[in-house]
Symmetry: C2
Amino acid sequence: MAKELTSRAENYSQWYNDLVIKSDLAENSSVRGSMVIKPYGFAIWEKMQAALDKMFKETGHQNAYFPLLIPKSFFSKEASHVEGFAKECAVVTHYRLKTDENGKVVVDEDAKLEEELIIRPTSEAIIWDTYKNWIQSYRDLPLLINQWANVVRWEMRTRLFLRTTEFLWQEGHTAHSTREEAIEEAELILDIYADFAEKWIGVPVLKGLKSPNERFAGAVETYCIEALMQDGKALQSGTSHFLGQNFAKAFDVKYVTKENKLEYVWATSWGVSTRLMGALVMAHSDDNGLVLPPKLAPIQVVIVPIYRKPEQMEAIRNKVDVITSNLKARNISVKFDDRDTFKPGYKFAEWELKGVPVRLAIGPRDLENETVEVARRDTLEKEVLQMEDIAEKIEHLLEKIQDNIFQKAFSFRDNSTFYVDTWDEFKIQVEKGGFMWAHWDGTPETEQKIKDETKATIRVIPFDGKGEAGKCVFTGKPSERRVVFARAY
Amino acid sequence: MAKELTSRAENYSQWYNDLVIKSDLAENSSVRGSMVIKPYGFAIWEKMQAALDKMFKETGHQNAYFPLLIPKSFFSKEASHVEGFAKECAVVTHYRLKTDENGKVVVDEDAKLEEELIIRPTSEAIIWDTYKNWIQSYRDLPLLINQWANVVRWEMRTRLFLRTTEFLWQEGHTAHSTREEAIEEAELILDIYADFAEKWIGVPVLKGLKSPNERFAGAVETYCIEALMQDGKALQSGTSHFLGQNFAKAFDVKYVTKENKLEYVWATSWGVSTRLMGALVMAHSDDNGLVLPPKLAPIQVVIVPIYRKPEQMEAIRNKVDVITSNLKARNISVKFDDRDTFKPGYKFAEWELKGVPVRLAIGPRDLENETVEVARRDTLEKEVLQMEDIAEKIEHLLEKIQDNIFQKAFSFRDNSTFYVDTWDEFKIQVEKGGFMWAHWDGTPETEQKIKDETKATIRVIPFDGKGEAGKCVFTGKPSERRVVFARAY
C-alpha cells in the first residue's frame, strides 16, 4: 500500500514521525514548532481528557480557567521559576497591526505595550496572583483546581507530540493549610497519573522523585512517572510538584489558621500533556502501524465486507447492522467500512496502520456458516468465530487486548531494565538503551558529569527501590540507594 | 447578607457585574481585559460545551486542534479579513527573556522573530493554510471540523463574559464542493445554535442574516441568532458564516471535481463563545441573584437542614441520604449544605444568589410528617410536599422550571418588540430599548447614519419577517422588508 512506514529497526525516529503523520494523528504546521492535531489524533486526546477529568473530579478537583497572557513582572516574582522558563518564552509586545504607506501589513509601533505579556508556559504565576484574593482563612482551604489549556514553550528542536512549541495539557494548582496535606496531594495525583498510564494507555511506569537537576523550576520536590519506549529511551509522562511555600511567598498568599495565626499557604502543581500521545504511539506500535489500547481507541472495531456482487453486499450489510447495534449497546465504538472504492486488502492495511484493536471481516461464506473472521491488531492473530454472542465475545477480546498490550510493554521494560555497577558497564549499556538502576553519590555535579559524558540523566529516584546502599557508579562515593538512569526524550 | 446586589432598576450594568462576581462565575484578572472563569462559572461552561459538542458530533463534525500563533503573512492573505482584525491583534515579536546587568528580567532583543506571530483572533487563516494540503479531490469533501479554543482580540472596553480580550469558544471550519452545500451547512449550524439557545439556555432568539456592515470580515453572508436582554439591549449570541470561495482563493485551495475539473472549495465558519454565559446571566437573573436553567445548573438541587440539636441533624442526614441517592439515580445533581457555620437564612440567600433551581429544606417537623419544603428559584414559590416519590416530583419540577424560564423570557421579548414606522417613534423607542422592527432602504450608508444618531444597529434581517414592503424609517426610500434594530452589547 501507499503509506508504507520506515521500520523501527531501520530508523526508529523516522518510523515514529512517519507513523504519526501517516496514521493521521498529527502533522507539522506552517507555524514553526507547532503541530496540527488531526481529528483522529484529537479523538484519542479527548478520550484521555475524559478519563483524567473524571479521576480529578472524583477526587474533589474542579476546573477553572485563567488568562493565557501573564505580565512579565508576575512571571519574575519567583526567582527560580523565571530562571527556568525565561529562555523559552513567547513575548507579546504590541496589540495592533496597521497597513503602511506601501499597503503592507506591519506592526503598529504606536501600539506598544507598557509591560510585555508572556504567553503562559505554565500558570503558577497568574494563578497564585489570583489565589491571593481567594484565600484568607483556613476555611478557604484546600483549594483544588485544575485547568485544561494550551501553553507555549519556545523549543528549538521539536517533535510531534513529544516536544512542540505549543502543546495542550492540564495543569492542577492546589493550595493547602499544611505541608503534609500538600505532599499528600502531590502523591495522590502521582497515583492517578500512574493509574491512568497503566490502565488506560497500557504503559507501565516507574513512580518516584526527580533529582534536583531535573526538578520543576520553583518546586521543592518533583514527583514523576517515567515510561520506557521501544527504542530503550525514557519518556517522562507526568509530573506532580510539591511547591512548598515558594509561590505563596512570592505572591504573598497567607491564611489565618484555626488558631488565628497568619501563615503562608502550601502548594502543589501537576500536569500531563499531549506528550502522552507520544507515549501511546511509541510504547505499543509496530512496523505495520499504530497499536491502540482499546480504552483509548476512537474506533474499537472495524468491519470490512468481502464481496463481489451487490446482493452479497446487501446481505452482509444486514448482518452488520445487527452486529453494530449489539456492539453499540455495549458501548463499543464500531465502524463499517463499506467504501466501494477500495479492496479489502487495502482496507485491512489502512485499519492496521490506524491501530484499530479488532477487525471483523465478513463474506458470503461467513453468512452461510454464521461465522465471522476476527483479527486482533495487537498480535495480528486471526480466527473464525461463530456469530452467536459475537458482541459479548468482542467485549471480552477488547479487555484481553487492553491487558495484553500492558503485559507486553511490562515484559519489554523488564527485559530492558539493568542493574549497572561499574562505569564501564554503564557506558556500554547506555548505548544499548533501557533503564539502568545504578548508584549515585547524590550530588548534582556527578549527575551533570554523567549527563555530559553519556547523555543519560537520572530519570527517577524510584519509590520502590530497595534502598540497598552501594557506591556511586561514577565517583565510587557512598550511595544510599539506586536511582534510574536513561537517555530520554 | 453580606453579598447584596445592586438592583436591576438602579443600575443594570452594575447589577450584572456584581452578580457575575458575587455568584462566583468569574472575575477580572490582573491581566488587562482578561477574566478568570471561576469553578462555578466554568462548570456551567462545561455543560454548554458538552451539549454543543454532542450536537456537532451528531451532525458529522469532528474536533481537531490548530496552532494558537499565526504568522502575520498568513493573516494578511484575505484582505477584508485582516482589515477586520488588524486593529485588535496581540502580536508576538520575541521568544526569549533575559536578566540584564541590573538583575532585571527584560526581553532579549537578540531573540527577535523574523516574522511576527499573531495570537489567533479566529483561525480561518491557519486552518485554510492547512486545508490546502488536506483537500485534493471531491472525495476529501466535505471536511467538517470544529475546534474548542481560546482566542485573543484586543478590546479597549471589556466586560466579564460579554467582551474580554481573551475568550473561550468553539470555531467550526468546513469545506464543501458546492455553494449550496456550504450554505446548507451554515444554516444547519444556525439551527443548532438556536436550538441550544432556546432549549438549554432558555433564551428565545431571532434567526436571520446580518447586514453588510455587521458581517464577519471575510464572509459573503453572516447568519446570526440574536437575543434580547432584560434591559432591552440585544446580544448577538452566535454567528455562522458562509465564506463563499474567499478563503479558498486566498489560500489557493482547489479540488478536482467528479468531472475532473479544478475548482475552488466553498467554505463556512461558525462560533459561539463564553459570551453565552453573559446571555444566560442577563436573560433570566433577578435582584436576588442568578436564575439558572436546570439543564445547565452545576447544582440542580440544594438541600438545607433546619435543626437545633445534633441528633436532629443526624435524623435529617439519614433522610437526606435517601433523597440524594434517589435524585442521583435520575441524574439530578444535588448538594447537601451541611455546613454548621452558617444559619439556614444565610444559606437560602447564598443558593438563591447562585441560582440553584430547586431548594429543599428539611426540619424535625418534616421528618415527623414525612414532608419537605420545596422552593423554586425561578418563581421564588415555596410549597410543602409529601416525601413519597419526591425524586420523581423534583424531576418534573426541574422540567417545569426549564420551560417556565424560557416562557418568561419569550413573553419578555414579545412585550419588548415594536413595529416602528416613523423616525420620531424610532428615536423615542430606542431610548426605551427592545427589538424594533422597522423598514430600511438596504444601504450601508443609512444603517451607519442610524447608528451614528441613535447607537442602534441592525441586529438581524430575520428569516421570519413577513416580507411586507414599506418605506425606510430614516430616508423614506422603498424597503422590501422590515429588519430588526436595537442597541446591542
